[in-house]
Amino acid sequence: MKMNGAQILVKALEDQGVDVIFGYPGGAVLEIFDALRESSIDFVLVRHEQGGAHAASGYARASGKAGVCLATSGPGATNLVTGIATAYMDSVPLVAITGQVPKAMVGTDAFQEVDITGITSPITKYNYLVQDVKNLPKIVAEAFYIAQSGRPGPVLIDIPRDVSMAVAEYVPYKKVDIRSYKPTLKGHPTMIKNALKLLTQAEKPVICTGGGVISSGAHEEVKKLANLTGAKVVSTMMGLGAFPGNHPDFLGMLGTYGNEAANLAVQNCDCFLALGMRFDDRVVGDPEKFAPRAKIVHIDIDPAEIGKNIAVDIPIVGDIKNVLRDMIAQLKDITPKTNNDDYPHPNVRIEEGLNAPWVLRTLKRIGASKKLIITTDVGQHQLWAAHHLSFNEPRTLISSGGLGTMGYGIPAAIGAQLAHPEKTVVVITGDGSFQMGMPELGTIAELNLPIKIIIFNNGTLGMVRQLQHHYCNKRYTGVFFKKTVDFMHLAKAYGAEGYRIESADEVPKVFKEALENNKFTIIECPIAQEDLVLPIVLAGDGLEKMVFNP
């Protein structure tokens, strides 16, 4: 059957099993929107293209399937950029589709022309400028394959308007085979043997879960391996949920904002097994001082991550689930070890009051019986959420770890909620980040999604204020909001339930109501401006040098 390029695109997306697209229209994508009208794919009209990319990313992270966003040429495409970069840094499978001016006008600075393949080349796993309508089915199939295989990531397809209009036969493209792209999935047997030897002989092994464990779906294997080897488990922010947060062997998040138990365990361990992580500066502190006594084993599907930031003793390239299965198979005859090392309890005592740690602990307690997905924005609230909520299953925390993008939490929640209508999606945000993600309140209201947004209102860009506290000798500049938003009026404007918490004793009741009401709800919780995320490891220090009273 003959159809135009836009219809071919939509057909190809349907063939990939796409059920929702987040996007925003414009002149260069008229035909694509026209084709979507007759498609089984749901279209979600966001309020800003960045929200579309983040929503697609939230959908991908909650579901494990590629998320899809769509924008017009020029400003539509550039508005996606932050979302694409966010997905790139966190290895999120995303397919971004942009309209482009007709081929004949490309390169002439035409109205709403921008070189989006050039702009996104460093922040996509791959991108395409479609030259011929006949290539569309192949390109779409490859884009999804590249986005979801190996180390996942965003792929962009830029489609000139005349390609969308050109008529051709739709020939489904079934078998993707890219000769220059063959991810290594099986770990090297010798390396695996060596790693096992280290791990089983270690007295104080530590396993660290990164985001790769979640992408690979290896959470059960991690549990088994930890049990067999008696290892303690720590996690990067991206890896939270890969190992049950409520497991006695879990010590919490490591890093410069890590908790005491996790950091001490890492600095004292004699074998550090890194799973699908990047050893970024927030995770290791000073790389020279990281895990000084440990032999390091690094398993990752991306060979370029191994040895990039930290020299490792045993590199294993492969899919984590595969590699761990191979390891576990060879351990079947050993008796599970226990590890009685005592570390400071990760759940240090917290005083009741309107402080984020206590409020989050209360949320954890009250939400314990529910299936929650937490999304966050970026700032102090994000770190408090990472520490004080418990992520017991994979894909229950959705947060911008690598790029640290404020404005992520609200649109990501939309994607997560659409991927999991049965779960309760809660956004943890600050008054600063909230105002960056605010446009998408309209989308939530329109879709009638029962998302809960908890705003920790400290009247400041708290995280930056904290940095100025540590590094600028408490000189604060450009971090205070002199006019606060009336968030309750705002809730009303969007038809959301609004709660402003005034005292600690209201917290449990408000959370109980909000988690049961099945409605879009905005909760504002005032907290003190001076509160700091503690402990913290300052620049240039090793992880054992945590500061508790700066």
Partner: protein, 159 residues
């Protein structure tokens, strides 16, 4: 230390930009880069000379391999290779000098390919050392302009 990488890539538009962008973005130091189609017209071959210690070269190689369009990366630095560069130099030359230059270039198996009123153009191919020696030998005459290609490298067949 200088390393020579032989990189096979898909012969698509935009591949050179992806490769050069990668070097710029990650702060790797390209000394020279030569691209041309291979015997298979769907594949191009890049010969990239890059400066860096072992760790950097390992990263360069891995990052190159990570580009979807890159088919194969081979570090040929320690291989037995034939390396060639093309050199064009325009040198000041009055009539007596012309003869002198012609003689001198004979020694290097280079040749004069253009004669102007007061200058000549010399063409030479060779490895880096030879090209440098030629340039040095021409310096006393007064060099007006130099154009060089990057280095092309090919691993020798088994003997």
């Amino acid at each position: 230390m200088k390393h020579t990488l032989a990189v096979l890539v898909e012969n698509h538009p935009g591949v050179l930009q992806r490769v050069s962008g990668l070097f710029a973005r990650r702060g790797y130091n390209i000394i020279s880069l030569v691209v041309s189609e291979t015997e298979d017209s769907s594949i191009s071959r890049m010969t990239i000379v890059v400066d860096g210690d072992e760790r950097i070269i390992e990263q360069v190689t891995k990052q190159l391999n990570k580009l979807i369009d890159v088919i194969k990366v081979q570090d040929v630095t320690n291989e037995d290779t034939v390396d060639r560069q093309l050199l064009l130099v325009r040198v000041n030359a009055d009539n007596p000098a012309k003869a002198e230059i012609a003689q001198l270039m004979d020694i290097f198996r280079a040749r004069i390919v253009d004669i102007g009123r007061k200058s000549v153009i010399v063409e030479a191919t060779g490895d880096e050392e030879k090209i440098e020696a030629i340039i040095r030998s021409l310096q006393p005459f007064g060099i007006q302009e130099i154009v060089k290609t990057g280095i092309c490298s090919m691993v020798r067949g088994p003997k």
